[in-house]
């Protein structure tokens, strides 16, 4: 009897789920949430390929589609880059049957990275997290928010138009700022609490922050996953 010893790198299936709803298309220039999320998704895909993982890309918003299935291949990153380049934000965030079907077809344990602002019907996003958790996925959430969304720095009166629904409402910046910040913080706390509930690693990202913080978080989580 002999023992055969060999080393093999495990190819972890990593799903990157990027929110492409209309609300992600907010933020001027480099602080645009969609651009920031897309760049983050690309960077993560690159890292995953370099780590011999099998990255996949799911874009969700008004619907959901697996634009790049998770495959461990050298050109996988380019596939994802290409898909990201052609992605356009729009529509409302809704956890449709397409997305749920994608999640429900995940058979193996793996890694799921959700990049979103979570400005949707909250319960539907939390349902996404619950299903991913139920499929045995190690989940990492990047809660992407533009600085304007966190601080409401505007002066004067504005007619705000909802990027997803088109709903309009008059807002007076100075007078409502404090209340607005309180409400946003309460919303973030709620998202964080749901993440804790489903054992999800939560990281809030401002789009004026560098990506290295997010990538460090991913690498730490990936290392812990083994």
């Amino acid at each position: 009897m002999y023992v055969k010893q060999f080393e093999d790198d495990t190819n972890v299936r990593c799903q990157v789920l990027l929110d492409v709803s209309g609300s992600m298309d907010f933020g001027a220039g480099d602080t645009n949430k969609f651009a920031y999320g897309r760049l983050l998704a690309a960077a993560l895909a690159y890292l995953m390929v370099r780590q011999h993982d099998a990255p996949g890309l799911v874009l969700f918003g008004a619907g959901g589609r697996q634009v790049v299935p998770p495959v461990a291949a050298r050109h996988q990153a380019e596939e994802i880059f290409h898909a990201l380049a052609s992605a356009r934000p729009g529509g409302v965030t809704a956890l449709g049957p397409e997305l749920l079907q994608i999640v429900d077809t995940i058979m193996r344990r793996g890694f799921a990275v959700v990049i979103s602002d979570f400005f949707s019907a909250e319960e539907s996003v939390f349902e996404l997290l619950r299903r991913l958790h139920a499929r045995g996925q190690e989940i990492l959430v990047f809660h992407v928010l533009a600085p304007e969304e966190l601080e409401l720095p505007y002066e004067g009166e504005f007619l705000m138009e909802d990027a997803e629904t088109g709903e309009e409402i008059v807002v007076h910046g100075e007078s409502f700022r404090e209340e607005y910040r309180t409400r946003v913080e309460a919303f973030c706390d709620r998202v964080r609490a749901e993440c804790v509930r489903y054992e999800v690693e939560y990281r809030r990202l401002r789009t004026d922050e560098r990506l290295d913080l997010a990538l460090m978080t991913y690498l730490e989580s990936r290392a812990a996953y083994g």
Binding site: E149, F158, A163
Partner: protein, 704 residues
């Protein structure tokens, strides 16, 4: 009323209203459209604040527009021509006529009646005034009244023609003061005058200084010409003087004649009762004693008239009404039938109750009608008269009896039980055993043996006594006599019964006077003789008031029956009478004594007869529908009106107190009277200033 404008050209300034509108439009924060990731955090709350901001902006815009409008209107200087009911006509006169209708205006002078001349002068002045002038009339005589507000001279003239001289007291100060107040609220321009039509009776030197007439009001007085009018007056009539004193009259001379002679006539119920010649020294007051006037029981009207021709006839007669109650019917039971008058047992009692008793000149003013009844006839007369309400005795004084006639105890018991009073004396003749047996049920004490002061011992005197008792009430007054000075040499041993009450004691504590209630009446037992045999009390000053109090206290009369002198009123003043519940709600008749006719008056349910108006001095009677006298009262002229020494117009005008003219005080801060009318630019600018203060408050305080 449509306002006119002083600077109408300044209305162009209204274009300035565009400034706030432009500011509002230019600085309005336009709502910039912005696409935002989500509006979920803005929902609801900011909608409300947006509405509030819109409202605030509208309020601010309105305030600014209003400020601008008020400022422009302030500079335009609008005015109301002829506003406040008083058109502002240049040169208009506002004159308040103070017309004296007091009694002194009835005085006759060498030039004729004061009143006729004064009224004619007032009418003459009014007729000379222009139609656009305004006149107010204040009447000073009795109650000061504002005869009219500001009216045309023609209207004031009509009011003056109907005005008659009264009989009340004039009050020049109050009249002029009232006239001055007419100008307090007058914003109109023109001359302001107070014109006094009065005889200007002399006042205290400093009195005029207390008047407060604005300096811009011209005050002038009509000159009656005379400065002094000789006059005489009956200034006071006293029918109910001090106890024992008779009626008296005060006659006052307001003349400079060294000595005037006249006759004073007293009429009672229209008939001349007596007359007195009086000498009247210059400026002196003469007291004329009339003695006791013989009034029969009932109401009487008294008029005292001074027969003399002088300046003012109205004050030569003074009136008074008096009610003489029915005298108390007292029977004095005499036990010494054949004795001389002064030796009779009841001599002192009868004389004390009515000094004129047994004389041919009976004093009708006495409060007691004393009848001497021999003991032998007492039972028979009591049996006869006890059933007669107007004849039955109210009080019985029974002197010491040796024997008690048959049936006396029973008839006395009936007398007392039915409300009569009984006074019994215990002289030497009294046999205690018979008294105790025959009168035991009546007596407040059991009667014992005779006690006599031993030789060489001090006589007994009055010790403690009940000062609240009616028989000793008179001694509550100072100098009313000392009952303790009386000495007693004999008495009976008394044992006060359970129902009895000791009213007075000897100085050793033995009972002197004991009383007891029996049925509706009372019995008083006096432990001494009714004469001088057992004591000297009848010789002392305190005896008469004690006997009077004793008799009066045993009689129970209502307040109406006890009334003596009816109230007197001053002509011109309001008269309120309390007739009591007896006439509540009844319709009575008010008549003046000696005059036919009369008016019906209604007594209120409270028994009051209020606001009686009488136009003449005199005695007045209020009668029931059956013609019975319910009440009488007298109305006399005010004695102050009798002094006809008068001031000159210059004296009044210079001594009159003045106050600074009121300029723009009160409402004048806001409105200014000018020759054109009432300008209110001040009010507009004040309002603009107030809004300017309000504007930043609204801008900063209202939350966005």
């Amino acid at each position: 009323m449509i306002p006119a404008f002083t600077n109408a050209a300044m209305l162009m300034g209204l274009a300035g209203l565009a400034v706030p509108v432009l500011i509002h439009l230019l600085f309005r924060r336009k709502s910039q459209r912005m696409r935002f990731s989500t509006v979920r955090f803005f929902v609801k709350k900011d909608e409300r604040s947006h509405q509030k901001r819109k409202l605030k902006n509208l309020i601010l815009l309105s305030l600014r527009l209003l400020v601008m409008l008020l400022v422009v209107l302030g500079f335009v200087r609008p005015y109301l021509p002829g506003s406040g009911g008083e058109s502002n006509v240049a040169g208009r006169r506002h004159v308040v006529l103070v017309v004296d209708t007091s009694l002194s205006m009835r005085a006759e002078t060498s030039r004729g009646s004061q009143w006729a001349r004064v009224r004619q002068a007032a009418l003459g002045m009014v007729e000379e005034m222009r139609n656009e002038d305004r006149v107010a009339v204040v009447v000073s005589g009795g109650v000061i009244t504002n005869l009219s507000g500001w009216v045309e001279p023609r209207v004031a003239g009509e009011a003056l023609r109907t005005l008659e001289v009264g009989g009340g007291r004039g009050d020049l100060l109050e009249g002029v003061g009232r006239a001055g107040r007419y100008f307090d609220d007058l914003r109109a321009v023109g001359t302001r005058e107070v014109r006094v039509f009065s005889d200007l009776q002399r006042l205290e030197p400093d009195a005029l200084a207390h008047c407060a007439i604005p300096e811009d009001v011209k005050v002038s007085c009509f000159d009656v010409g005379e400065r002094f009018i000789p006059n005489f007056a009956v200034s006071d009539v006293s029918l109910a003087g001090e106890e024992g004193s008779g009626a008296a009259v005060s006659v006052r001379s307001y003349s400079d004649e060294p000595e005037a002679q006249s006759t004073l006539r007293v009429r009672v119920d229209g008939r001349e009762l007596l007359s007195r010649d009086v000498r009247l020294g210059a400026g002196a007051t003469s007291q004329v004693a009339l003695g006791q006037l013989p009034f029969e029981p009932g109401w009487h009207s008294v008029a005292v008239e001074l027969a003399i021709r002088d300046g003012l006839l109205a004050d030569n007669t003074r009136y008074q009404t008096v009610y003489r109650p029915e005298p108390v019917r007292v029977w004095a039971v005499e036990t010494r039938a054949d004795a001389r008058v002064f030796q009779e047992a009841t001599f002192f009692l009868r004389t004390a109750l009515d000094p004129s008793v047994d004389t041919t000149n009976r004093n009708t003013a006495s409060a007691f009608r004393v009848t001497k009844v021999p003991l032998a006839r007492l039972v028979g007369e009591l049996e006869r008269d006890l059933s007669e309400v107007r004849r039955r005795p109210e009080v019985l004084f029974v002197s010491s009896m040796r024997d008690i006639p048959n049936g006396l105890g029973a008839i006395l018991m009936r007398h007392v039980s039915e409300g009569g009073g009984l006074v019994m004396f215990l002289g030497e003749a009294v046999r205690s055993s018979i008294y105790n047996r025959e009168l035991g049920g009546l007596l407040p004490a059991g009667i014992g043996e005779m006690e006599v002061i031993a030789a060489g011992e001090m006589p007994w005197r009055v010790g403690a006594f009940d000062k609240r008792s009616a028989m000793f009430e008179a001694f509550l007054k100072p100098n009313s006599g000392d009952v303790r000075l009386a000495e007693f040499y004999g008495r009976r041993g008394l044992v006060t019964s359970q129902e009895g009450r000791t009213v007075a004691e000897f100085d050793d504590g033995a009972p002197l006077i004991v009383e007891k209630s029996v049925g509706a009446g009372r019995v008083v037992l006096v432990n001494t003789s009714e004469d001088l045999r057992m004591g000297d009390w009848p010789r002392h000053k305190s005896y008469v008031p004690w006997v009077h109090g004793l008799a009066s206290g045993l009689v129970r009369r209502t307040g109406e029956e006890a009334a003596r002198v009816a109230p007197g009123y001053v002509l011109g003043e309001e008269i309120d009478l309390d007739l009591g519940g007896r006439y509540a709600g009844q319709t009575l008749r008010l008549e003046r004594e000696g005059k036919d006719g009369g008016v019906e008056v209604q007594v209120a349910s409270s028994g009051w007869l209020k606001d009686l108006a009488v136009g003449e001095a005199g005695s007045y009677r209020i009668r029931t529908t059956k013609g019975e006298d319910a009440f009488r009262f007298s109305v006399n002229v005010d004695p102050n009106e009798s002094d006809l020494s008068l001031m000159s117009p210059a004296e009044v005008e210079t001594r009159l107190g003045r106050v600074p003219a009121q300029v723009n005080t009160g409402f004048g801060v806001w409105v200014e009277s000018t020759g054109r009318g009432q300008e209110f630019w001040r009010a507009l600018l004040w309002a603009a200033l107030a809004l300017l203060v309000l504007e930043p408050l609204v801008a900063n305080r209202m939350t966005a």
